[in-house]
Subunit: 332 residues, 2 copies
């Protein structure tokens, strides 16, 4: 029999379809390992091609030449939001609400190597990427109009990118979406009722049950959430209560480098280097020091396709059971 | 400059990314026309293979033999929800909420022909499919535990199905998702403020503006909504106020057969037979006769991929401009 599970962070229902569930190893991608070269002449993100991107807004270097960078941040050449216009709402055709696409959309070029992946990077390289995310969060969060910062990575065609060179993206948006508002509301209700942060509680519950836990380090938990929307959906959640990723401390940055490297390598080995997304969930800028919100990373291997049922209902059908996929990960 | 548009039915913000916008014809799929045969020996939905599916729950026939059906409805062999269990909530591990996956999940086999498509069917064939949807809505809506009925179609791999034989699906769920609750709330607020149905108003606004209108028939409007989440997202909306698809009348069924055939053929011609989803949005069962809700069909060609930004923020980036795509459709 299948089961409906309610996501404690959103009140959303997820269908865990036991009956149609594949076993965890059914999700392993079997595809050719088409390894690319370390440098591609016409790749806009490869060293030496810096002129092909807008001028950089931040960089970590290891030498003094234009191309001797380790990580480079540039404005997206085709931004979803840009630093122009106002954030005043306007009324269109006498009835619809709109505003300028005002904000920031940056690309973090994670490595000079075209064929690098997170799972093969050193922990200190990933640590630097996390530190760069934090630096950019701080800068973009200070912009007057920024209400929400979303740091995310699309890796591979199935995850929404055709650019192979390792990169992630940061969007600073002038609105908070109803989806985020709802999560804030759910967390606030929990806080009012219990005096505790919902996500700190979830961390405790997962530590307590251990059935969905993938690993625990000194400062982070890695687990497959109870009401996972997607097979092998993975959360990396800090143990320390902190609403805002921008307030991550140096010890956490160091440990997150290790933890991300470890889990990405596990996922690559478990599922055969799947395409994936990750996204940093962090409080809206105005709630950065709230008692009831908590930042975390959601990693989503792309083994599934969004269908009409999910689009129309908001109810996701997950064909894998989180307890089984987490147990599988622990064996890798 | 890009633009943020607010969806009047959900309050969601959508980014219309003018700057990165492709022109409408950039979305045309260029792929081989791999035409399948009309009958495939091991296809569980082909006539003669009825034993490969669970026994049918409804059928339209044109003769008396087992295989002489025109449309056949069977329970899904791997259902997301099934007619067993209870709809009582339970508490799992002392803190999470769950319930049995109780409900119905049916497959509508739309044609005996394996290689048939909606765009090539006659209008009377599509009319029969719509009538069958209505019949099943009536039956499933009477089940005590049904709270929401979702009728949808996934066509093609990119849309989430690997089964080629033309089919759609119906799920009767024992919960109303927060996404639907939110839409009901937004519509109710509009009703309280104006005394009018939001969707009747949207129909009027689209008729008024005509910039996003694809076509108008006696009983339906076809348009690309103002805050489309996806390129070429298309709504088919009845002019008559009616919250519930199950209450569609015979005149509407007849005309919807024509309208759906017309728009699917246009989409196939405009975009090169894309994979697509459609989903019937209809009021929760308890709101079937409400003054403020309104059923409609959302058609979504799969020219896009969900990325990490959308997953994390609930804000969709649409790289096409609805006014431009609708104008393009009018030229087809």
């Amino acid at each position: 029999m299948t089961e409906l599970r309610q996501d404690p962070t959103t009140d959303d229902w997820v269908i865990i379809a036991h009956e149609r569930a594949k076993r965890p190893y059914d999700y392993v991608m079997r595809r050719e390992d088409t390894s690319s070269p370390a440098f591609v002449e016409n790749c806009p993100f490869c060293p030496g091609n810096e002129r092909l991107t807008p001028p950089e807004v931040a960089v970590y270097r290891e030498g003094s030449g234009t191309s001797s960078w380790k990580i480079r941040v540039v404005p997206n050449k085709y931004p979803a939001l840009g630093p122009h216009g106002t954030t005043e709402e306007r009324v269109v055709e006498g009835r619809f609400r709109a505003m300028d696409g005002s904000g920031f959309h940056e690309v973090v070029i994670e490595s000079p190597l075209h064929n690098q992946t997170l799972s093969r990077m050193s922990t200190s390289e990933i640590e630097s990427i996390v530190r760069m995310y934090r630096d950019r969060y701080k800068v973009l969060g200070r912009e007057r109009e920024t209400k929400l910062i979303v740091i995310f990575k699309n890796h591979g065609i199935a995850a929404g990118t055709s650019i192979e060179h390792p990169h992630s993206q940061i969007v600073a948006a002038p609105v908070v979406s109803p989806q985020i508002t709802k999560k804030c509301h759910v967390a606030l209700e929990h806080y009012k009722k219990t005096g505790r942060c919902l996500y700190c509680d979830i961390n405790e519950w997962e530590l307590d049950s251990r059935t969905r836990l993938v690993t625990e380090s000194g400062r982070f938990l890695v687990f497959h959430p109870y009401a996972s929307r997607y097979p092998f959906e993975t959360w990396v959640s800090p143990k320390r209560h902190n609403a805002c990723f921008g307030n991550i401390d140096s010890e956490e940055i160091r440990e997150l480098g290790k933890t991300l490297q470890w889990i990405m390598e596990k996922i690559d080995r478990a599922l055969g280097k799947p395409d994936f997304n990750y996204v940093f969930h962090t409080a809206p800028v105005e709630d950065e020091i709230s008692e009831h919100l908590h930042w975390y990373i959601q990693i989503v291997p792309r083994t599934w396709t969004l269908g009409g049922f999910e689009m129309g209902s908001g109810i996701y059908i997950n064909t894998a059971v989180p307890e089984e996929t987490a147990a599988f990960m622990r064996t890798i």
